[in-house]
């Protein structure tokens, strides 16, 4: 009876998965470029941000079409509204991958004088959070969405650890002060990615919350 509508919702899900894997790759590669001080790759990631922006527009258009054509209510409306809000967070994550790459270019002139393993760990945790948040949306998995929100504490802890390491470096190695400040920015961007993943998970909960609907 609503097969066209269901088909449109399915293609919305597919686009959400596509955008999620685009930004996941962007962060992964941004961190790789950062660790290897690979300027060429960093510049490539900055250019690729346009594709992420285009994907955001595509998803927003699908949502607008659904709102106009299907005039959704209840769970459908929450689902589509959530997607529209989620892509904004996803797009910001893409921006942060580009921001990190911009810093990679700046940081490429001298070898790192700090251990950046923790930054690598932060990137891994943030990517996991993002992946899980989008999977929770696609699979309508409330439990997974809640886990993502809880996991943000792990990223916040890592952020504090990296921050205090970098402050030590700044105090003891004034020649490296500026680079350490840039790495602190990278650290902050990764922490923000965790926050955006948390937002996405919160929208998943909004879309699934049926306020105790009585199933008969």
């Amino acid at each position: 009876m609503r097969s066209k509508f269901d088909e449109q919702l399915k293609s919305l899900n597919e686009e959400m998965i596509r955008m999620s894997s685009m930004i996941e790759n962007a962060i992964k590669e941004a961190i790789e470029a950062l660790l290897k001080q690979d300027v060429t790759k960093a510049r490539q990631i900055m250019e690729n941000d346009d594709y992420i922006d285009q994907e955001q527009k595509r998803i927003e258009n699908i949502c607008f079409q659904l709102l106009i054509q299907q005039q959704p209510v209840a769970k459908d409306l929450r689902n589509i509204t959530a997607a529209m809000k989620m892509v904004t967070d996803m797009e910001r994550i893409g921006d942060h991958a580009a921001d990190i790459s911009e810093l990679t270019v700046v940081l490429s002139d001298v070898p790192y004088q700090v251990k950046i393993d923790n930054i690598k760990d932060m990137a891994k945790e943030s990517i996991d959070m993002l992946k899980q948040a989008v999977t929770a949306y696609v699979d309508s998995d409330m439990k997974m969405a809640r886990e993502v929100i809880e996991h943000d504490d792990v990223v916040d802890e890592l952020f504090c650890k990296v921050k205090s390491d970098l402050i030590d470096v700044m105090q003891n190695n004034t020649a490296y002060e500026e680079h350490a400040a840039d790495l602190l920015m990278v650290n902050k961007y990764l922490e923000r990615i965790g926050d955006h993943a948390t937002n996405i998970a919160e929208w998943v909960i909004f879309s699934l919350d049926d306020k105790g609907i009585k199933k008969s």
Binding site: M1, R2, V73, K211
Partner: protein
């Protein structure tokens, strides 16, 4: 939040209740068309009745001014009160219909002039003075938001009006006898979008003075105009709540399936 939907259907007791329905059952011969309906319809609010064809919403609407009395084989039990007076046991049907007016799906003006259509009810009620009738006709047409369009052609036939104008004229005719409740049975289903939007705006204006109950197949219309919405299915009242809540977070799976187009 109340524990069950049945609690919600009746939990607005503290608000100003115009029509109180308790355990209402209606039978066409052996067939039971309404099952144990209980709900409080609030004064100066718009209440929408929604549900698939044959769910009992129009039947229920008709019980509110005893239109079902006119049909054979109909039997009703339960309680239906207008301002605390039982409309079946303690009220004359004609008196009730003065207080509870009705607008139908198809505009049905009498084959008379515009003026005579509106003056019809008041004349039956014994008003004869022209000045008084003039005043009622103007007031009713103004309330129905059609005075400006019709003031220069009051003595022309009502049948020459467009569908949307005819429907607003019928609303004016209903208002002329100064009812307290206006029942509307799919009042815009035969109208174009502009006329529909005029009727919806009108309903919104009229609720300041009247209590309105509207049957509609158009869920977007219920969302736009109704303060409360009741969902009927197979003669049962499934859910009755604040419209925004019903359409955002339906409590019953059957309500959700209906409003999201999974059946009906």
């Amino acid at each position: 939040m109340s524990d069950t939907i049945l609690d919600i259907n009746k939990d607005n007791k503290e608000e100003n209740v115009k029509l109180e329905v308790n355990n209402l059952n209606l039978f066409y011969g052996q067939f039971q068309a309404l099952h144990n309906i209980s709900m409080n319809i609030k004064a100066n609010k718009i209440t929408a009745l929604i549900g698939p064809s044959g769910c009992g919403k129009s039947t229920f609407l008709k019980t509110l001014n005893r239109m079902n009395d006119l049909e054979e084989n109909v039997s009703i039990n339960g309680e239906l009160k207008l301002d605390n007076t039982d409309i079946y046991k303690e009220m004359d049907a004609l008196e009730l219909r003065k207080r509870v007016g009705m607008v139908f799906q198809q505009p049905n003006p009498f084959p008379k002039t515009i003026y005579d259509n509106v003056a019809y009810g008041p004349r039956i009620n014994g008003i004869k003075k022209k000045a008084q009738l003039d005043e009622i006709v103007e007031r009713s047409l103004r309330q129905a938001a059609i005075w400006d369009e019709l003031k220069d052609r009051l003595h022309k036939s009502a049948l020459g009006l467009s569908g949307g104008q005819q429907q607003r004229l019928c609303i004016a005719r209903t208002l002329a006898v100064e009812p307290e409740v206006v029942l509307m049975d799919e009042p815009t289903s035969a109208l174009d979008p502009i006329s529909t939007s005029k009727i919806e705006e009108l309903a919104n204006e009229l609720k300041k003075k009247y209590t309105i109950v509207i049957v509609t197949h158009n869920m977007q219309q219920a969302l736009r105009v109704a303060d409360d919405t009741a969902f009927f299915l197979l003669g049962e009242l499934i859910e009755f709540r604040d419209t925004k809540k019903l359409f955002s977070y339906p409590m019953d799976k059957r309500t959700e399936d209906y409003i999201t187009g999974r059946f009906g």
